[in-house]
Amino acid sequence: MTATPVLVLLDHAADGTLRPPVRELLTLARTVADGAPVHGVWAGTADVAPALPVLAAQGVAAVHRLVADADPHLSSVVADGLGQLLDATGAGLLLLVSSFESKEVAARLAVRTGAGVVTDADGLEVVDGRLVALKTVLAGTWSTRCAITTPVALVTVKANAVPAADAPAPTEPAVVDVPVQVSATSRRVQLVERTERPASGRPDLGSAHVVVVGGRGTEGDFSPVEDLADALGGAVGATRVATDEGWIGHDAQIGQTGVTVAPRLYVGAGVSGAVHHRGGMQASGTIVAVNADADAPIFEIADYGIVGDLFTVLPQAAAEVRRLRAQG
């Protein structure tokens, strides 16, 4: 790869705090940039100030703030701005977090710029001057290495793909406003309403290092699941059965049609391990399963399986984790 800048779309909450995977993306961007500058792109009306200390520690050279006279939440408007920036900076690589919104942006940019796209990458390398993305596919059962053969590459990266680390030397990122030429296409879609989901106080499901998941076996009582999640400092997830039953919000659903997670530790309680669910969690680092049925398919992929009742095993584990933590 030539030493062109790398762009990173800075995913952030409405209050301007960066979402945790962004630090991982910036770390990854530096490793493949090979000395070329890493630039952040800020879309939306939130104040960039809360993010600047993190961006400085990450060695970001500049932050391009997209300013548009159209709704900045529309993926088409973000794509308008990013398309302009790819041209203006000559960047050969744009990294985005693997969210549904990012994938929309990437799809639009791919069509508009002819760029190659890899979604849900769990690593990125430069081999013989070519960008190579690592990706786990088919419900976590296969690993692939995929080269991007176009001059511009768009890669969405899964949370927890790499450990985040600060740059050897911090920077003072310049914040530059970029007036976006909003395309006619973008103006045809109207965002009638957008409601941000309130933060739960627990880590974000998509990027948490620990995720504790409850399934049908909870019979609607998620308290043991929440208890263990809190003891481990993790997020709470659910199977589709649990969300369909209304035991927990739909946004907690893990699986092929829900959130994809790859935490360091996944604990499934009362979860059978149906293939639709496995697709969203099988790439997790360590898998623990607690299930009353010794024949549950989840035991086939569990590093640590307990045949037992979640209502006794989980509270005991949570209490012991707290006790061991207190001991230091």
Partner: protein, 264 residues
Amino acid sequence: MRIVVCVKFVPDIQSDRQLGPDGRVVRDLGDGTLNELDENAVEAALTLAEEHDGEVVVLTVGPDDAVDAVRKGLQMGAAQAVHVLDDDVAGSDAIGTATVLAAAVRHLHAAEPVDLVVTGMAGLDGLTSLLPTALGELLDLPSLPLAARLTVDPAAGTVTVERQLDHASETLTAPLPAVVSVTDQANAPRYPNFKGIMAAKKKPVTTLTLADLGVDPATVGTAGARTQVLAAAPRPPREDRVLVQDTGDAGTRLAAWLVEQKLV
């Protein structure tokens, strides 16, 4: 109202799915099926067609077997099916597939105006979710992905979707024609009944080639792919696995194990 539904033929996710030496999903293991999530797309289209006196055309791009995917759509109630079948399509990535589908939609639109294009939220083989948005871009139509609810106002000529994203829920609206993808929350797909299965046998399946659609083969398939799989391997099985029967202290032992693994 004329609705085109794009559907995909994929290996059954319950089967042992594999990648070939070229890094592509092996599609000839004989256990292919209509992508489960596209059943929601067909259902959404049929429901709208019933409400607004319309007609549904199912469209697929894929090898010989892929005709089974559109046949299932016909059995569910679609009136017409189109199968783009061409060796040069093999190896297409999401953008390549979208290019062929876009050409096919234009072809259909030229014959009789298309008001809406509906797709599933993702293919359960590649799971990129790129196609619906790419298709909208290629057709220069508004695309409204991930509809958990979908309504059309024929008088105003608009489509409105409600969708759940990772951190927010949104309502989007756009003028028709437009491209919409629906999630599995959108509806419960109907099962083809005996009458539907018999009727489907009489319905036409039109087969088209890239030449019919005026698509340059160099822009799709392996030739047009913007990514190249260098290596593909099944992930090694997990090692040192532990399975314990709870005899009263499994929770305590689990906590100790987590500490030992440095996960706490």
